[in-house]
């Protein structure tokens, strides 16, 4: 048939367009370019308070995203949060004494784990734990503290 060919060409174009759209979604829209999940290694860190940190939150060093939070657990003995992070295999030279803190991107942004490199020449391996950690700054606590201090100040100045 004559239009069989035309039909097939159109179908081919359609499938190609669909795949191109999928490819664009994968490469341009999502973060696939930064990570492939299977390679890389996991490290752990304990925090007193993780604030709004979630599984899949970013892990970054010097502002560059190098991994993500893979799991969040709770240690019933120490009452601490145990955060497992998956770090991309390209960044395999994080010093042993690297410290981890939980930051907030912008005032109302999402929480992320920021790593700061230490000075040792031994590197973190699969399953290692980061010893030096700083908990999330919880905005409510901060405001509470501020108000409390303010009240104390007012009280102090009032009694004078």
């Amino acid at each position: 048939m004559m239009n069989q060919r035309v039909t097939e060409i159109w179908v081919g174009a359609f499938v190609a367009a669909g795949l191109a759209a999928l490819f664009m979604l994968a490469m341009r829209v999502s973060n696939i370019s930064a990570f492939a999940d299977d390679e890389g290694y996991s490290i752990k860190a304990r925090f007193e308070n993780i604030g709004g940190l979630k599984v899949r939150s970013p892990v970054s060093m010097a502002g560059v995203r190098i991994g993500r939070v893979a799991d969040i657990g709770f240690d019933a003995q120490t009452y601490e949060a145990v955060v497992t992070m998956r770090i991309s295999g390209t960044y395999s030279t994080l010093p042993k004494d690297t410290s981890a803190s939980i930051f907030t991107a912008g005032v109302l942004g999402e929480n992320y784990v920021g790593l700061e490199a230490g000075a040792q020449d031994k590197y973190l391996k699969e399953g290692d734990e980061i010893k030096i950690t700083q908990s999330a700054v919880v905005l409510e606590n901060l405001i509470g503290q501020f108000l409390f201090n303010k009240a104390q100040e007012d009280k102090g100045s009032g009694s004078k």
Binding site: Q4, T7, E8, W10, V11, A13, F14, V15, A17, G18, L19, A20, A21, L22, M24, L25, A26, R28, V29, S30, N31, I32, S33, A34, D37, K54, V55, R56, P58, R65, L108
Partner: protein, 260 residues
């Protein structure tokens, strides 16, 4: 009171009877798929009428929805000084929800209703019976290729919808309203997760494609073979698909994004 109960009972029985027939029909259609793979020519023709002919409406709707989303979100986000979040907001809305759901609804209006009408008319004009008497199983020859074509087309159409929608919002946000182009993409890439968002969105569209095509071909095959019967069946296809897609979307969303 007793009459009412009887009505309820009859309604329930006929509902389950239809459901049973639908499942049996689905089973036969799936059994017919290997035969289609042997003769892919049949499916190519259906991919054309189901897929290619739906691209136009999908693309136009996608770009419109993307542009409107871009405009509306920009206005809201500016109040918080967070215009840079335009990219992720639009991308997440499209990839997670609007892409799969809207393209499924458009698909059922464009392709599903056509499938129902086509199969229904083939039944009304005894073409299906004729085929049966020529020892050709109409479920294998007519239904299965259409079913497979719908199943394959839907995820591709949803991807096209989302991708074009994002381009539309890029055009409005970056081109017209002055959002920084780099921030638009980088924020999007930071927030949109391949597995969590795109993969799950695609699963949704596969499920919707399955349901929408199933409803369309079943309504056609099960229609009363008269002019009125076919027109009713066509309407039912669109309405039932809308219910099914919206209901399933809620369930799937709860399953996929609920524990976040």
């Amino acid at each position: 009171m007793i009459d009412w109960l009887q009505k309820l009972g009859r309604g329930g029985l006929s509902f389950f009877e239809r459901l049973g027939r639908g499942n049996l029909f689905l089973f036969h259609s799936l059994m017919g798929i290997p035969a289609v793979l042997v003769k892919p020519g049949l499916m190519i023709a259906q991919l054309y009428s189901v897929g290619v002919l739906s691209v136009q409406i999908i693309a136009i709707s996608g770009v419109t929805v993307g542009m409107v989303l871009g405009l509306q979100m920009f206005n809201t986000l500016t109040d918080f000084g967070a215009e840079e979040s335009l990219g992720p907001v639009v991308a997440l809305a499209l990839v997670r929800e609007l892409g799969p759901v809207l393209s499924a609804l458009l698909f059922s209006g464009r392709a599903g209703s056509a499938l129902t009408a086509e199969i229904g008319l083939m039944k009304a004009t005894e073409q299906l019976s004729g085929m049966e008497m020529m020892a050709v199983d109409p479920i294998k020859r007519v239904v299965a290729p259409r079913f497979l074509a719908g199943l394959l087309s839907m995820p591709l159409l949803a991807a096209i919808f989302s991708a074009i929608g994002i381009l539309g919002s890029y055009f409005v946000g970056v081109g017209l309203l002055g959002v920084d182009s780099g921030a638009f993409w980088s924020q999007m890439q930071a927030k949109v997760d391949l597995y969590e968002d795109i993969y799950n969105g695609m699963i949704k569209s596969v499920v919707f494609g399955f349901v929408a095509t199933w409803i369309a071909v079943f309504e056609g095959y099960d229609s009363v073979p008269t002019t009125e019967g076919v027109s009713r069946a066509t309407t039912r296809t669109v309405v039932h698909t809308a219910f099914a897609v919206l209901g399933l979307d809620f369930v799937l969303t709860a399953l996929m994004f609920g524990d976040d």
